[in-house]
Symmetry: C2
Subunit: 270 residues, 2 copies
């Protein structure tokens, strides 16, 4: 995305292979992704190589927004429909693929509307949202964040803090994307101070850590947040599309499945 | 496939990454594959890690043989049907994927029967086969070689020499697979003396090189043979399923497409 020059491609590939060859394999994929994408930004001198990809994703999602909003409004269960759409948006992930056609986004929407979902977890999420207390909503990717808006609009916005990444990494959503999605005027937006494509608390800012610790409910989008927060001793609802066989095996579902997962305090770390 | 021990997996991954990081990038993928799979065989002490995979593929293909043979016999154009089936068998390739379901083989068969094919190249191939002279048939993978038998049975067997790899590499067909497919009793079988998952002439035995040089017609199966023989100054018919965007772009077709390609003597090397 940064250049057509094959000598630069070759250098990036070689340096990345050497980096990965020496990595500790007991770390999570987002930990590895942080190192890889830091290296790529450093070697290319490009602070945000996925900027155009993120713009395209935001524009695509915004062009679908009105239609999807109608779909939520016209639904027999607007909350559940919004949850499904928010998860459908999680298909927009350039951490696991290098290209995504607009048609694949459309397909993901239709798949998410009919795919089976854990109805108990869905009911628990609804109840948790209807309760009192602060809600922390951890966004995942650009474009996807417009789908998140559909869900956030079905929730009590005065109790929600939306969290984005602290700096660009892959196509993960940053403050700029939250703004483009129109979320700044709806909820409080903060960044986590980190460039991990997930949420590794130790690498986040003290203010985010404090906010994370005192929130009554955490909604975490995407596989990166699942890989870094599962088993961490907080009650979290994970909303994601499953993107690899390892995580599918861990959760007990199929690759591509739409997942609403309530984390128990005692569950195992990935 | 060799072990469930994650410490061995980790070592194999690290050593492979280091090897690839230092590789010359102007070599063909089969050249790289030779080095990678030599290293894997050396590190695991397993001379043929894909043995079970190859047996499974052969058994699956043999279980389909009678039905496919009927399909060729009942066809309005048995030769063209056999060509399409031989290409369908090229889906059985563990160089580009780690798992293949039996249902995917069935699907590949149906896709190959209806997929568009260059009809001029098909007519040229038919004419070339009907001519006089020696035919060299370069096999690709185990399992696929049973599909090749269907095509070989539609050709003048007394003029055909079937060529397999000189030693195990990935799931490429060796003498053992030719035998299991029942081809020894139909045609002359030779191996090329090489462990490249393709055909790099310099790495092949002198007897194969001589045979290659004097053959009147060469039929080469699979992408590995295309990657190593295209542009090499011989008239060759390549029969393959296209497995990556780079080769799709080079040939000018889509990934997954069934390809019958006549090489001109003057064509460019990949």
């Amino acid at each position: 995305m940064v250049t057509d020059d094959p000598t630069v491609h070759e250098r990036l590939i070689r340096e990345t292979l050497l980096l990965v060859a020496e990595m500790p394999f007991d770390r999570s994929p987002p930990w590895m992704g942080q190192r890889i994408h830091r290296l790529l930004r450093e070697l290319t001198g490009e602070k945000d190589p996925y900027r155009q990809v993120k713009q395209h994703s935001n524009n695509l999602a915004l062009s679908l927004y009105a239609e999807l909003k109608e779909r939520v409004r016209g639904s027999a269960d607007p909350f559940a429909t919004a949850v499904r759409l928010a998860i459908a948006g999680n298909v927009i992930d350039f951490g696991c693929r290098s290209h995504l056609g607009d048609d694949e986004v459309h397909q993901a929407i239709e798949d998410a509307m009919v795919g089976s979902v854990d109805e108990v977890a869905m009911a628990d999420l609804r109840q948790a949202v209807e309760g009192v207390g602060d809600i922390l909503y951890l966004a995942d990717n650009a474009g996807e964040i417009v789908f998140d808006r559909l869900l956030i609009e079905e929730m009590p916005q005065d109790r929600i803090t939306l969290v984005v990444r602290g700096s660009p990494v892959i196509n993960d959503a940053t403050r700029e994307d939250a703004e483009v999605a129109g979320l700044n005027s709806l909820v409080k937006v903060m960044d986590n101070g980190s460039d991990v494509p997930g949420t590794i608390l130790e690498s986040c800012s003290p203010s985010f850590q404090a906010c994370f610790a005192r929130s009554d409910l955490i909604i975490a989008k995407g596989q990166g947040n699942y890989e870094t927060l599962s088993g961490g001793g907080r009650n979290i609802f994970f909303l994601l599309k499953v993107k690899c066989p390892v995580i599918a095996g861990h959760i007990g579902c199929d690759v591509g499945q739409v997942v609403v997962l309530r984390q128990n305090r005692r569950s195992e770390r990935v």
